[in-house]
């Protein structure tokens, strides 16, 4: 039973990362309809920036996370403005390619700035907490709490502010939003900036648990795609629920089944779900889909 609860707690921690990544991806997908393959590299970049801030500039960890989110938000804004916006009217595939180009570009930059080696992210919260036989480091608990806070803040932003309403409106109907006078380009940039900042938050939070290296973003990216497909692309609650669900499934599977096949499990679920419901579990039915 202790193993079970231990794995549940781990699952929630991993699920926090997936949720934040999936929230960013799904926000961007809802507005721009782009599967943003470069999202994993923004995750990586966010971790490297907060790592540099903490180790080189000796800045407080939490302040470093906020700064890293601001920097990545700005990068996201620029990427939307100068790469994705010119491609808006073109076939989908071109945005794919642009995203892959961006992926290579960011990875190359990370390699030349920080090198290919693995970095350990120092944390002040190393102490172990034990209760009811379960052991967890304080940092892991903080990851869970900070993620819950960010999800709550995003929810407030979307539901209570006029910018949030504008994002929802554009996601529902881009032309309609334009007709009632919403600046759709501004909203696109904003959504992209927020989504990218969330990736930076996810990586900076979890980096002390894992390691920081240029290829660190590829697996979380793909998992986040699995999540938003399961939760329905463009659905914010779907991303949060799906993220935690995938984290739990994975950590239970690796606790009770073979650990090497934990990753396989996620993608098998993906293929099965798509076979049964081609637009995802909570996805809207697309016109003309069988």
């Amino acid at each position: 039973m202790i193993l079970f609860f231990q794995q549940i707690l781990n699952g929630i921690m991993i699920g926090s990362v997936y949720s934040l990544m999936a929230l960013g991806l799904t926000l961007i997908y809802g507005i721009l309809h782009i599967p943003n393959f470069a999202h994993g590299n923004k995750y990586m970049l966010g971790a490297f920036i907060s790592l540099t801030l903490v180790t080189v500039f000796k800045i407080n960890y939490w302040l470093a996370i906020v700064l890293s989110m601001v920097v990545l938000g700005a990068i996201g804004f620029l990427v939307e403005r100068f790469i994705y916006r010119p491609l808006h009217d073109q076939p989908h595939i071109n945005s794919f390619i642009a995203a892959i180009g961006l992926l290579l570009l960011l990875e190359g930059i990370a390699y030349s700035v920080w090198g290919g080696e693995w970095h350990r992210f120092p944390t002040a919260y190393r102490q172990n907490l034990s209760f009811f036989g379960i052991t967890i480091t304080l940092h892991r608990l903080l990851v869970i709490a900070a993620t819950a806070f960010l999800i709550f803040a995003l929810q407030l932003f979307i539901k209570k502010t006029s910018w949030g309403w504008a994002i929802e409106a554009v996601a529902q109907d881009r032309e309609g939003a334009q007709l009632v006078g919403i600046n759709v380009y501004g909203v696109s940039s904003l959504a992209f900036a927020i989504g990218t900042a969330l990736a930076a938050a996810a990586s900076s939070l979890v980096a002390p648990v894992y390691l920081v290296y240029p290829a660190m973003g590829s697996l979380p990216l793909i998992k986040a795609f699995v999540v938003i497909i399961l939760g329905g692309m463009g659905s914010l609650p779907g991303a949060v629920i799906g993220g935690y669900l995938l984290g739990l499934i994975e950590s239970l599977a690796s606790g009770y089944l073979a650990a090497v096949y934990a990753d396989l499990f996620a993608f098998a679920v993906l293929v099965i779900v798509l076979a049964i419901r081609p637009t995802g579990l909570l996805g809207k039915k697309i016109e003309g889909t069988p």
């Binding site: 989908h92 570009l105 190359g108 795609f225 090497v260 096949y261």
Partner: protein
């Protein structure tokens, strides 16, 4: 299609090993040939049928692994293992196409990507069959064959390999050319244009997409099998989804939905990194930046640039002189 330019081009390409004796340029051209076959296979489903598959590295890997295992573990000859590997790959294409092709657009892209990752993980962990992360080495080269008039053809040298790859590249391009200019090919174009519309014309879109995907997997497997035998070494990296991204890049740079596009793209994108050797550190940055610039300013690739801009201008230049 005009016959003469094609024949002249073929003769030129075929005479390269008679002039170039150095191994390295031939090696580069052989790699261009292999990537051209793989990118052409992607072109069939992505370019002509409009379904963006991001999982073609899986078929490439399945082709590579099946031919290598059939030769090394079952002791088959290359000439038997090659078609069997292509058929294995096509079978996987059929099986994965059944569920995956129910989805569309981004969903299809991500579903195929997910499938690709599953294949790579299985290859990496099924050590009893695939040797896992260490990969399979010393994969044999094709056995010599006896051709009428030419006598025995040996494939251990670079020139022999070059002609082998060239033969299969031409065969692939010829078959894809025949497919897209057949009535079936027209239905593919109709599906790309709009699935609902195609359905209203009485086209069975599911069946047609499935056939296109299966054939595409067949050729991707061919490229993989040729790669395995030429390179002599394969590992789970051979089927890594980044390989599929590379194919997509070749296709886009050369020009999607054109026959020469994948070949031009593979040629340029294989040679650019070579010329950038001195800038090794910044290579990937330049490569990525180049892609973004191409996709924004040349959305239809180099073939699109030629057909839409350069060729009409050339014609305009000619016209007044004639008149």
């Amino acid at each position: 299609m005009k016959k003469w330019p094609v024949i002249i081009l073929l003769v030129l390409v075929a005479s390269i090993p008679l002039v170039v004796k150095a191994n390295y340029p031939l090696h580069l051209l052989i790699m261009v040939g292999i990537w051209s076959i793989a990118a052409s296979s992607l072109n069939l489903i992505l370019g002509f049928t409009g379904q963006a598959s991001l999982g073609h590295a899986a078929f490439f890997g399945i082709g590579a692994y099946s031919s290598a295992l059939l030769m090394l573990k079952a002791g088959l000859s290359f000439w038997l293992a090659l078609p069997l590997a292509c058929l294995t790959s096509a079978l996987f294409g059929f099986l994965i196409g059944l569920p995956a092709l129910r989805t569309r657009g981004s969903y299809f892209a991500i579903a195929t990507l997910g499938f690709n990752i599953i294949v790579t993980i299985i290859i990496e962990h099924w050590e009893g069959l695939t040797e896992g992360g260490t990969g399979i080495s010393s994969i044999p080269k094709p056995e010599p064959i006896v051709l009428p008039w030419l006598g025995e053809v040996n494939f251990s040298g670079m020139a022999g390999q070059y002609y082998l790859i060239l033969f299969f590249l031409v065969l692939t391009l010829f078959l894809i050319y025949r497919i897209i200019h057949s009535p079936v090919g027209k239905t593919y174009t109709a599906i790309r244009g709009g699935e609902v519309l195609a359905e209203s014309l009485g086209i069975n879109t599911r069946a047609n997409k499935l056939v296109s995907f299966t054939v595409s997997a067949f050729f991707a497997g061919l490229a993989g099998a040729l790669y395995a035998s030429y390179h002599g070494f394969i590992s789970p990296d051979t089927s890594n989804f980044h390989v599929g991204f590379d194919l997509l890049i070749y296709l886009l740079v050369g020009g999607v939905a054109t026959l020469p596009g994948p070949v031009i793209g593979a040629f340029i994108m294989t040679l650019i990194p070579e010329t950038l050797q001195s800038l090794l550190e910044y290579r990937i940055i330049i490569y990525g930046g180049f892609l973004i610039v191409v996709v924004i300013f040349l959305p239809r690739g180099l073939m699109g640039l030629w057909r839409d801009t350069l060729w009409p201008r050339l014609k305009d230049l000619k016209q007044p002189r004639q008149g």
